[in-house]
Symmetry: C2
Subunit: 353 residues, 2 copies
DNA sequence: TTGAAAGCGTTACCAG
DNA sequence: CTGGTAACGCTTTCAA
């Protein structure tokens, strides 16, 4: 009987059996050669190697994983790979993963909780050993319960999970926001506006809380007219900013809630007359080259990604201790825009040079 | 005989067999329910569904892929995920992949050709259906020959493959560079410096060629003292720039070869006295908010990623035509830094307002 | 040093 | 409508 023909059109890959047949040895011998096991004569090794090269044989890791424990890969879900903050974070996770000989299957949820869940399930179906997730706003994670029970490691970054006890790595958003607003208060500002991301986003909420705490600590009144929360689109932000500046008692300083918002606000301010002081949450490239350079509360995306990945691999190495929650400190970097004083108060000396 | 116990410690996942047993139905029936096939009574479907939910069963795609054609995933290799140019490109590839129901396994080669090859082989072993590669400088790709023969689709982006005929998507680096330098020449510059990436990088070489072609077309002499190529580290660039400016006849304009180089050059120039005109290859966020705003030759990373992914899926859909090479046009965006005239010539009028 | 057989979890085929 | 059986490509176990 002839060798069975493959499906039409689909070129066929050689298997171990093909190699064994071609080299005139047993299947197991090929397996041993492929995996560099001992117990094969040098002559046989050479022959098998030659056939492998000639046929272009590649071991199938899926089949291998089916038989053994499982294939070395982790899953990574975030909302948007192109945001520099997440790009850095992903890069760090991947670096650590590759150091452990693992590849990362990456998916972008684009802020859609349902899609995030689909991605998570797809990754589970592919039997990734671990999962790093930046939750979309509003997504629940109880569906991962059985995975955890089955030994999969799951770590959440930047935002906490909902409905699941699992390791979490966050930035200290509230403390960072307090510091930013406190910094402005110390410079004499009494009317400080907050431009934050959509209120459904965990970090946006925390930063709003920090903003309020700092005002309260300084004995300043809470004025919700100074707060605008929403997606950082140019239009929405332009309207919000215009409204803020049209107030009878407009803010002399702004605190912006993430890099997108900060950048877009800078763009809008460049077209307007006002020059409020500004502190942004999250550092961004070229902040130092703006005029004036932009004062920020820097997060550490690389540190967060690395911490998350390390936690993950600790779990995979067998750590069964209770879920941990890491909160990484932020750091205020004063560059100029946040040190402007309100009109009417003496400013700092300029241009000593 | 009792059910066989799993390896100690490793929690066990339920399989279809477990579900079938628990629900008191056959294996195939569970399979039908899981895959939404018809031919199962509603009552049975419900019972099976209930058991699946209770046991937390998840289909194993590795086993599934072993049996069928293969699992829906593609591989993605680039050198650095955190560079905004590549971040955009990756994002586009992933978006298209997800639209096709595929996930992307991503690896970063970090400019190491050997590691790039290892990543490629690892992805082949995982039987990805397609591969998108940004080649590391100096890497060869003939090792992918058998994969292509076996029906895998491979597309190269940003840089062409070496030793393999495969689809390739590039930016028109040479034409873009010609345009940039021509733009400066038209503004009266006769001494134009070029700060490029390491000469081993394909795009760096092309941009150097474009630079030279533009000079030649303008009848300007070639002066290699005006060219500095190397990795865009602050130190190296600082030294190169200092050397350039110390020339007896220093450049009045600079052409920088990629976004990293442009940004670092801006940073260095901010600390120096000279204010040469500047055009950068590759656009970057905030270029419009620099003083002066930075003129660039914009590439289209999203377009490139999308084009690459589309080519890939065309191939996977059965397109067997010869390898294609796409070269995407660049676009010069004049913002100010590239329109400065050399000292001694009248500048453009400023501040009409 | 070598190889035959069983089995990993799933699906296709075919029989009930 | 339902369910056995074989097979996917590999590794493990055990016997030669």
């Amino acid at each position: 009987m002839e060798t069975k023909r493959p499906r039409l059109g689909a070129a066929q890959r050689p298997t171990m059996k093909d190699v064994a047949h071609e080299a005139g040895v047993g299947l197991k011998t090929v397996s041993r050669v492929v995996n560099g096991e001992s117990g094969v004569s040098e002559a046989t090794v050479d022959r098998v190697r030659e056939v492998i090269a000639r046929l272009g044989y590649r071991r199938d890791d899926a089949a291998r994983g089916l038989r053994n424990g499982h294939v070395a890969s982790i899953g990574l879900i975030l909302e948007d790979t192109t945001d520099p903050f997440y790009a850095q974070l992903v890069g760090a996770v991947q670096t650590v993963a590759q150091e452990h000989g693992m590849l990362a299957l990456t998916g972008a949820s684009d802020e859609d909780p349902d899609y995030e869940r689909d991605l998570g399930l797809a990754l589970c179906a592919r039997r990734v050993q671990g999962l790093v997730i930046v939750p979309a706003p509003g997504s629940r994670h109880d569906y991962l319960e059985p995975e955890l029970a089955a030994g999969m490691a799951v770590v959440f970054v930047d935002r906490p999970p909902i409905g699941l006890a699992a390791d979490t790595v966050l930035a200290d958003s509230r403390g960072g926001a307090r510091g930013a607003v406190g910094h402005l208060v110390e410079r004499g500002h009494r009317r400080i506006g907050f431009l934050g991301d959509s209120p459904g986003i965990y970090t946006a909420g925390e930063r709003l809380l920090g903003y309020r705490e700092a005002l309260a600590a300084a004995g300043l009144p809470r004025d919700d007219a100074l707060v605008a929360m929403g997606p950082p689109s140019p239009d929405a932000l332009g309207a919000a900013l215009a409204a803020l500046m049209a107030l009878p008692d407009p803010p002399t300083a702004l605190f912006t809630g993430n890099n997108r918002t900060t950048v877009e606000t800078l763009r809008i301010l460049a077209r307007r007359e006002e020059r409020p002081a500004l502190v942004g949450f999250d550092d961004f490239e070229l902040a130092d080259l703006m005029t004036p350079p932009v004062t920020v509360v820097a997060q550490d995306p690389v540190g967060m990604g690395r911490a998350a990945a390390r936690l993950l691999f600790q779990r995979l190495a067998g750590d069964r201790s209770p879920a941990r929650r890491l909160e990484l400190a932020t750091r205020l970097i004063a560059r100029g825009s946040g040190e402007r004083r309100p009109a009417g108060l003496p400013g700092e000396p300029r241009d000593r040079a």
